[in-house]
């Protein structure tokens, strides 16, 4: 997205602007609901609180998933020392579980969260615009 040619040199007059009083494409209801959110009516407060709660619990669930899998590993190795002796294709199990597996796992969870969070936001916008 390099548009180096269009950027003018610093000293220059302000660019001409088109002023639009009303954009016919945007439905009026959107404006009204957005205004209502801004004004913090009791309806808006309830809706926003619900949305924040959804986002929060999604994040908490994924965090618990990490804690339940990766976070349990030190305890597992502590309680079952025999596990450290197991080798998979010549590499000891702890090195696979600690050196390789966590990274795709963490990235996968992050990706999943990104999808979920963006979906919730889309749903929220859809609901507000209806």
């Amino acid at each position: 997205m390099t548009d180096g040619t269009t950027q003018p040199k610093p000293p220059r007059p302000p660019r001409r602007k088109r002023v639009v009083l009303a954009d016919s494409r945007a439905p009026v209801t959107v404006l009204r609901t957005v205004l209502e959110l801004e004004e913090q009516t009791s309806w808006a407060e309830e809706v926003v609180r619900g949305f924040i709660r959804t986002q929060f619990w999604t994040a908490v669930k994924l965090a618990l998933l990490v804690i339940g899998t990766l976070g349990a590993l030190p305890l597992v190795f502590f309680l079952a020392p025999g596990l450290s002796g197991v080798t998979v294709v010549g590499v000891p199990l702890p090195w696979i579980l600690l050196g390789i597996v966590p990274f795709p796992l963490l990235f996968g969870l992050a990706y999943w969260y990104n999808v979920l969070a963006e979906r919730h936001e889309r749903d929220f916008v859809d609901m507000v615009e209806k």
Partner: protein, 597 residues
């Protein structure tokens, strides 16, 4: 180690490239917006490379391989924690923090809780964490340069890095270093990936551990010197010997002065600073106290209760501390909106995952080829000296030059990020308008004070003080951020109390560790990584005091919360800075300009 001209050339090249790229971007930076947040228009891919470039400090580039060499499986938790920290950041902080419109941590604290006092307190902690992180970077630079060019004093490398960073930051602030840091991520990745591939191929060609005269990594035996080694001990060490060794020593050993051949039976042996030790090839390596002696133990995760506690404490500190590091958060304010902030984090996690595979492999190779580092405990140098040990000659020198250049890139990028974030906080605190001139003055201070400290203080282990800064960030800013974003009833009194108590406890344990380090090391390892206790205490403090001062909940809370969480498309983001920074002319220019690249 003789002068490696290749390495010198590599470092000079990195320095020149950094300066040139920074200078080119600096010419485009003129407004306060450029200097503090790069106009908030950095796209997520570039921003992610810049975040990773800045995050992968000396602790990651040199420290992780060194810790793997020394501690084995337990050290693998460092890269995991360093990466998982970004997951926590993404889940709970990234998007809402960007949407809050703040441009620094203290600004967020003020925007959310409406208190100038809290802003002042946060500024103090940001500066403190910044210093705690910056000093080891500069010291590491000094150490690296003196390793490569013998005869150069320790301070030279620190001065070079500090000056280069300050020139770039003075010239273009955030805008200039964004490009520099993105470049340095790829440089660092290359500087570890290329040597790793070559060294692995050579290792396999030579027939593995047995072929080069080392101990197999799974064997229940201590590592062995693959060639005769001469070691200068520069700090007092206690060495553990499992197999009896014959060595030649000159200096204070086991409480008496010796010059000549010494026999060490199994047990512990003390060597004082200034002693020179010589070992023949194929003798067992004495290992510094506190590290696993034989390879089989090294290969397994620690089995004691103490190990378990330290591991959890470390994971806790890195998981929750990343979100409180000022130089990491500053980068998130440069995103255009909350969604981009989240995507940036996702990219960062991919880039970090890619990077951390290599230091782990290098650390394991170092266990075979450079076990002499275990005698002094100076394992941070593993990445730098490994190539020349595996392939003596030109190939080794070139590979060593590549890793040295990468290490310098690590020092430069992390220091730049820290100086920019600390300078940004300083120049906008205390009623400052954040003018470009204020920012420049602040960056001189933010660069030269740590340089002074780095020159005065004795050298420590890079990873330990970095680990402590994670603990400090996790115990001060993490509760304020998490509760500030998700809990409506937090008050500034609660936040301030949590920061003081959490931060105070970490500083107390830092003091205890330091004192114990000078007086015989009596403090348990817990004090080196106290996050498992201090973070919950800090959370509890914020919670209880906020409950007790419920009347101080800011009246605007609901509106602020809605702005932080409402999707970007609804257009609620109000950047706090536009109202206060710069001139009318500057703002009119920004209103319809796009970031050029």
């Amino acid at each position: 180690m003789e002068l490696n001209l290749w390495a010198v050339a590599g470092i000079v090249a990195v320095g020149l490239a950094t300066f040139t790229i920074g200078f080119r971007s600096a010419r485009q930076a003129s407004t306060t917006q450029d200097f503090l947040v790069a106009r908030r228009t950095v796209r997520s891919r570039r921003n992610a490379a810049a975040v990773s470039g800045e995050y992968l400090s000396a602790a990651s580039f040199l420290g992780v391989a060194g810790l793997v060499l020394k501690d084995g499986a337990d050290a693998l938790w460092y890269p995991i924690g360093f990466t998982a920290g970004y997951l926590a950041l993404m889940l709970f902080v990234a998007a809402p923090l960007r949407r809050s419109g703040a441009y620094s941590l203290p600004d967020f604290a003020e925007a959310r809780l409406g208190s100038r006092q809290l802003r002042g307190l946060s500024t103090v902690f940001v500066v403190f964490i910044g210093m705690l992180y910056l000093v080891p970077q500069l010291q590491g630079a000094g150490l690296t340069l003196s390793q490569i060019v013998p005869g150069v004093p320790l301070w030279a490398g620190a001065v070079v890095v500090a000056v280069l960073v300050m020139v770039n930051v003075l010239g273009g602030g955030m805008r200039a270093i964004t490009v520099v840091q993105a470049f340095q991520y790829w440089l660092k990745l290359f500087a570890l990936a290329a040597p790793t591939f070559v060294l692995c191929v050579l290792f396999l060609r030579d027939g593995g551990a047995g072929g080069v005269g080392g101990t197999g990594l799974a064997a229940p035996l201590p590592p062995r010197f693959t060639s005769a080694a001469e070691i200068d001990v520069s700090t007092d060490v206690v060495l553990q010997v499992r197999e009896a060794v014959l060595l030649w020593a000159d200096g204070a050993v086991d409480g008496g002065r010796t010059t000549g051949v010494v026999y060490w039976g199994p047990g512990e042996h003390t060597v004082l600073a200034g002693t020179r030790l010589r070992f023949a090839a194929d003798t067992a390596v004495p290992v510094v106290e506190g590290a696993p002696v034989d390879n089989a133990t090294w290969l397994r995760p620690g089995s004691g209760v103490g190990d378990l506690f330290t591991t959890y404490s470390l994971v806790f500190a890195t998981f929750l501390g990343t979100m409180g590091l000022p130089h990491v958060l500053t980068r998130f304010y440069t995103n255009p909106d909350g969604r981009a902030a989240r995507r940036t984090t996702l990219h960062v996690m991919m880039l970090l995952s890619l990077f951390y595979l290599f230091p782990i492999v290098l650390g394991a190779l170092a266990r075979i080829y450079t076990p002499e580092l275990l005698v002094t405990g100076g394992t941070d140098a593993a990445v730098l000296i490994l190539p020349l040990k595996v392939v003596p000659g030109t190939l080794g020198q070139v590979l060593g030059a590549v890793t040295a250049a990468g290490a310098f890139a690590a020092f430069l990028s992390t220091s730049s990020g820290l100086v920019v974030s600390v300078a940004g906080v300083l120049s906008t605190s205390n009623g400052g308008r954040g003018r470009v001139r204020d920012f420049r003055w602040a960056s001189v201070i933010a660069g030269s004070v740590p340089l002074g400290i780095a020159l005065v203080l004795p050298h420590g282990d890079v990873s330990i003080s970095v680990g402590l800064s994670f603990a400090l960030a996790a115990s001060t800013f993490c509760p304020v951020l998490l509760l500030g974003i998700w809990w409506p009833r937090i008050t500034w009194v609660g936040a301030a109390a949590g920061m003081c108590v959490g931060g105070g406890l970490v500083l107390l344990s830092l003091a205890i560790t330091t004192v114990s380090g000078f007086t015989g090391g009596w403090a348990p390892a817990f004090f080196q990584q106290p996050a498992l206790v201090t973070v919950p205490v800090a959370f509890l403090c914020v919670f209880l005091l906020s409950k007790a001062t419920a009347s101080k909940v800011p009246p605007e809370t609901n509106r602020i919360r809605m702005r932080m969480h409402a999707p970007d498309r609804l257009g609620f983001i109000r950047d706090r800075d536009t109202a206060r920074w710069g001139t009318a002319e500057e703002r009119s220019r920004l209103a319809n300009g796009r970031h050029r690249r």
